[in-house]
């Protein structure tokens, strides 16, 4: 039996259902939970591609960190008690149209490209990734570290309450 294919099919379905929920549901919490589901689906897809490390990282980062952070942000900002405004029908149709156009264009470009001879899924171990990071792609590794540091500091700075000068607020 084609385990990879089956895993892929199931994961893809989960991911797509989650994605549809993430953009379509009305309650923002439902969106976030759907999003988490979609990311789990994507992690499954990565598994079927033979990149287990990547799958685990995806699940950890997105479900474990990003979605939680989004919940926090919703708590701090989203006016949940405001009256829900109805979705404008023209906007929905317009967005769908543009999105379809964009997706179609990408499909055309990617599918018609002259790719090299196809290989097949090969398990890439975490060790291999680590070696690649520290040998061929060490610059990217360092940059990512700096980027994450800067992002953290920036996030804290932006979200701070501005205290009046002199004395504690």
């Amino acid at each position: 039996m084609n385990w990879a294919g089956a895993v892929f099919g199931a994961s893809a379905a989960v991911a797509l259902i989650g994605a549809l929920g993430a953009v379509g549901l009305k309650n923002i919490f439902h969106n976030i939970l759907s999003f988490a589901l979609a990311m789990l689906g994507v992690a499954g897809v990565f598994l079927s591609l033979g990149s287990d490390f990547l799958a685990v990282v995806f699940a950890l980062v997105y479900v474990g960190a990003v979605a939680i952070a989004m919940v926090y942000a919703v708590m701090l900002s989203d006016p949940l008690d405001e009256p829900r405004r109805p979705r404008s029908r023209s906007k929905v149709l317009g967005a769908a149209a543009f999105a379809a156009v964009g997706a179609l264009a990408i499909w055309l470009v990617v599918y018609r490209a002259h790719w090299l001879s196809p290989g097949g899924p090969r398990r890439v171990s975490a060790a291999e990734i680590g070696v690649r990071f520290l040998q061929d792609y060490v610059l990217a590794f360092e940059l990512i570290s700096v980027l994450l540091l800067v992002a953290m500091i920036g996030a804290v700075t932006i979200a701070r309450r501005v205290r009046p000068p002199g004395g504690r607020g």
Binding site: L49, F98, I129
Partner: protein, 102 residues
């Protein structure tokens, strides 16, 4: 259909759904969610192509990991920005906070 086509089709669909959400949702956080979906689709695409249409899957996975890092950083910053915006204008409705007008 070939495996490549299936994977690519999946990533394009995921991207399209994310794009729809980006264009349609009013709340900034909802737009961010959609954006994350798009980034995930890109990561899938990169890994798929290096695996099925290229020679170096390892490089593809490294790229995807970098992408995850970037996405996380971006999410953190974006969310703190939304908090600050909400503090200033009591809303994070993209149609209200738009000031880049002609």
């Amino acid at each position: 259909m070939t495996a490549l086509a299936a994977y690519l089709g999946f990533s394009v669909l995921l991207f399209g759904i994310g794009l729809y959400g980006l264009l349609q949702r009013r709340s900034l956080i909802a737009m961010l969610i959609a954006l994350e979906l798009m980034l995930a689709a890109v990561a899938v695409n990169v890994v798929v192509l290096t695996t099925y249409a290229g020679r170096d899957p390892g490089a593809g996975q490294v790229m995807a990991l970098v992408l995850v890092g970037v996405a996380a950083a971006e999410t953190a910053l974006g969310l703190s920005l939304f908090v600050a915006i909400h503090r200033a204008q009591a809303t994070i409705d993209v149609e209200t906070v738009s000031e880049l007008k002609g």
